[in-house]
């Protein structure tokens, strides 16, 4: 595939080749085509046929064990995926460029499927974007280099470069972003993002006094985890209900969010609740900043919330109210947040404990008849975003597309 070919054609050509590697298609095609691609994906790797897709994958799948070993080193999931691919690349026995690429494609699909499993049935956008970007970046052909050996070495060198850059990106973002935090500010954040905590901790390290307000991040309570990280770093944190964002917005100076994926329009896909938070911030003319690594840039262009793939919104199996409200005792899920209990002061009133036991939904005949919907992420359009802090620099939403075009050229 010639490198100069426009990326659109590039993506389509994968489709027409009907290669088992369907990643770029899944990511690139608009939603109208998405189901088709999902269908194309499924037969190639039927989950039931893969032992590795069980909740406790067998350790005999070498690929996944490499992946897990990287994960254990506490690197971000997408980077662990890329490191795994790098491993595939260097250990591949293929003797042609095409062979290497095919090996990578197969490994990529497997990883995506695995990641989908471990992240609760939905492949994260950043993971897919990152592995695709890696593939593009590392295996870009170079006409100057005729022989396979040299080229393969070049590929691997690029791969390492990619990983090294990706690993540095959080530090770089913290470095760029912390100057936006000024003394005396109240910063609102939502959900848990390592990049955001990185920026905030960096700001605290440069002796700025500010306070952070974190939404609890229902249902999994990710806000508490973020709050914990921040309090450990000595930053005053207040945890508020997700639904209290508008109430507190007038006191907030800036909103700082992470992103699961940054899409072509400059908008972001992030934890559910981000969009409404961004709307409130806009209404109050509060600047909203997004901190995200450039490997989260995805060639997606969602137009409506429904355009988000895999965004489970009718899964009754996934309970809507655990674990924060359905009681501390019982269930392993609650264990995760227990540690946070009691440490968080409550802003107001004693009518309800954010973490306390709640028996309203424990029983009752009506509960069974209820429908619950619980999407895990939403799409926030670019108009609500002031700036993005990325390792490529501080970008306006308009610059995202620019960068994406460059990345995928």
């Amino acid at each position: 595939m010639p490198a100069h070919m426009p990326s659109v054609l590039f993506a389509y050509s994968y489709h027409s080749d009907a290669l088992s590697y369907s990643l770029p298609c899944t990511i690139y095609f608009d939603t109208a085509n998405a189901p088709v691609m999902e269908a194309a994906l499924e037969p190639s790797i039927p989950p039931s046929n893969l032992p590795s897709h069980s909740s406790a994958p067998s350790s005999d799948d070498p690929l996944l064990s490499v992946f897990r070993s990287h994960l254990e080193k506490n690197v971000p999931v997408p980077i662990a995926g890329v490191q795994t691919l790098l491993h595939v690349m260097s250990s591949s026995r293929a003797v042609t460029i095409m062979g290497i690429q095919n090996d990578l494609k197969a490994a990529t699909s497997e990883l995506i499927e695995y990641e989908r499993r471990i992240s609760g049935g939905r492949a994260s956008i950043s993971f897919r974007a990152c592995v695709e970007l890696f593939f593009r970046y590392a295996t870009r052909k170079n006409d100057d280099v005729p022989d396979f050996e040299t080229l393969n070495k070049l590929f691997i060198a690029r791969g390492h470069h990619f990983v090294a850059n990706a690993l540095k990106s959080r530090l770089g973002i913290a470095e760029l972003g912390h100057s936006f935090v000024q003394d005396g500010m109240m910063i609102l954040t939502h959900g848990r993002s390592e990049v955001v905590t990185g920026v905030l901790i960096r700001a605290a390290q440069s002796n700025k006094n500010f306070t952070v307000m974190v939404t609890e991040g229902r249902p999994e309570g990710s806000g508490f985890k973020a709050a914990e990280r921040l309090t450990e770093a000595g930053i005053p944190v207040t945890v508020i209900l997700d639904s209290a964002a508008a109430y507190f917005m007038e006191r907030v100076d800036i909103v700082l969010l992470g992103a699961e994926g940054v899409v072509e329009s400059g908008g972001i896909v992030n934890k559910i609740g981000t969009c409404q938070l961004a709307m409130v911030a806009k209404l109050y003319n509060k600047p909203l900043y997004v901190a995200a690594e450039s490997y989260k840039f995805a060639r997606l262009y969602p137009l409506t919330q429904a355009d988000l793939e895999d965004n489970v919104d009718n899964d009754v199996e996934k309970p809507l109210f655990p674990p924060l409200l359905t009681g501390i005792e019982g269930g392993t899920a609650t264990g995760k947040v227990e540690e946070g209990e009691g440490r968080h002061r409550q802003e107001r009133g004693s009518s309800g404990n954010l973490l306390g036991k709640n028996t309203i939904f424990d029983s009752g005949p009506g509960v069974a008849a209820m429908t619950t919907k619980n999407p895990s992420c939403d799409y926030t359009p670019a108009q609500y975003i002031s700036l993005l802090f990325t390792d490529l620099g501080i970008l306006t939403p308009a610059a995202v597309s620019d960068e994406l075009i460059k990345l995928y050229q």
């Binding site: 700036l387 939403p397 308009a398 610059a399 620019d402």
Partner: protein
């Protein structure tokens, strides 16, 4: 033998004193910046270039990295002398960018002559340490490029004025705030080219610079009306376009305007009047801020009230900020020496003028 690496801080002064001519120039610019004696952004930019050129021509350096460290150190001292005069930092970063570019070009030429596959490997930008390499012809290349930059600055007004007729239609009512050389030149140019339009000037208290602006415009044959700042909203309903003066254009697409600019821009936005900022791109600064404290300056309240009066007002204090931050969503268009630009595209221009590694001069 002096080290060719310029020291920072106070040592810089001593280091530069080896070259009395440059040192004198350096001291005098630092002093006039500190005392805010250089009026206007353009002279400031030009003087900074002159100084840096002299430093580059005099000081010892062999590689791009060394040259850049000299420029950074001197630049830092200039910026610290007057942190609010953003054009100084802009020019310094612009010159750093020029050095990088020239170095890259020269290096490429060298590599091309030497031939080999190494050239193709370096295109990934992994060449961080290459600035250490010494390349022939860097000095002349950089000086030429800086000469072009100076030429660009000399022509800023001409280039902007070329666009005047494109943006002003017949019988248009234009509102502007205070006095700005750029806006004034732009409007006068349009009038000289026989476009008939009307200008309303908000006087811009407390210094009432708008009055002088209005006099100058009227002298150029433009129908000019002076209003007090309080009438801005009232009159806005009949205004076709707002021309904002600009002290600095900042990276998120916002701008730093004289105090009152935000008010006028917001009133225009509320009444759907297009807001246009006329400015030279040398004012484009790779810095981000989003609030009214950004790069602001509190001036002496003597313009507001006599000192003697304040003695009778023990409970009162006085506030006279110099600038306003106008957020990007309030500005519709920037008319610059390189043409018209939208706020959302400014990031791109930043990439063409500055290297992001130079955002800090430390």
């Amino acid at each position: 033998m002096k080290s060719s690496v310029a020291p920072s801080g106070k040592d810089l002064d001593a280091w530069l004193s080896t070259w009395p001519h440059v040192h004198g120039q350096y001291r005098s610019l630092i002093t006039s910046l500190q005392r805010r004696k250089v009026a206007g952004s353009l002279p400031c930019a030009k003087m900074t270039i002159e100084l840096l050129k002299a430093v580059m021509g005099t000081c010892r350096w062999t590689t791009a990295a060394e040259l850049m460290s000299v420029v950074k150190r001197v630049g830092k001292a200039l910026v610290d002398a007057q942190p609010l005069q953003l054009v100084v930092g802009n020019v310094v970063r612009r010159i750093l960018f020029i050095i990088r570019e020239e170095h890259k070009n020269k290096l490429r030429e060298v590599r091309a002559r030497e031939g080999g596959a190494t050239a193709s490997l370096s295109d990934d930008g992994e060449a961080g340490n290459e600035l250490e390499a010494s390349v022939p012809g860097l000095r002349t290349g950089v000086m030429e490029a800086i000469g072009e930059l100076q030429l660009e600055l000399d022509n800023v007004y001409n280039e902007i004025c070329e666009l005047a007729l494109e943006h002003i239609h017949a019988n248009e009512v234009i509102l502007t705030v205070g006095r700005s050389k750029t806006v004034e030149t732009f409007l006068r140019e349009a009038a000289e080219r026989r476009r008939a339009f009307e200008v309303i000037v908000a006087e811009s208290a407390p210094d009432i610079a708008g009055r002088e602006m209005a006099k100058s415009l009227a002298a150029a044959g433009i129908e000019t009306t002076v209003i007090s700042d309080s009438a801005v909203y009232a009159i806005m309903a009949r205004v076709n376009q707002v021309l904002l003066p600009c002290r600095a254009l900042i990276a998120n697409g916002g701008l730093i305007a004289p105090c009152g600019g935000h008010m006028a821009a917001l009133a225009a936005k509320e009444l759907s009047v297009p807001v246009v900022c006329v400015t030279g791109l040398f004012k484009l600064s790779p810095v981000y801020r989003h609030d009214q404290d950004a790069f602001n300056d509190l001036r002496s309240p003597s313009a507001l009230i006599e000192y003697a009066d304040t003695q009778l007002l023990p409970e009162a204090d006085f506030l006279n900020p110099a600038y306003d931050y106008v957020p990007p969503e309030l500005v519709d268009l920037y008319i610059t020496n390189t043409g018209g630009h939208q706020t959302f595209y400014l990031y791109r221009l930043l990439g063409e003028y500055y290297h992001h590694d130079d955002s800090s001069l430390d």
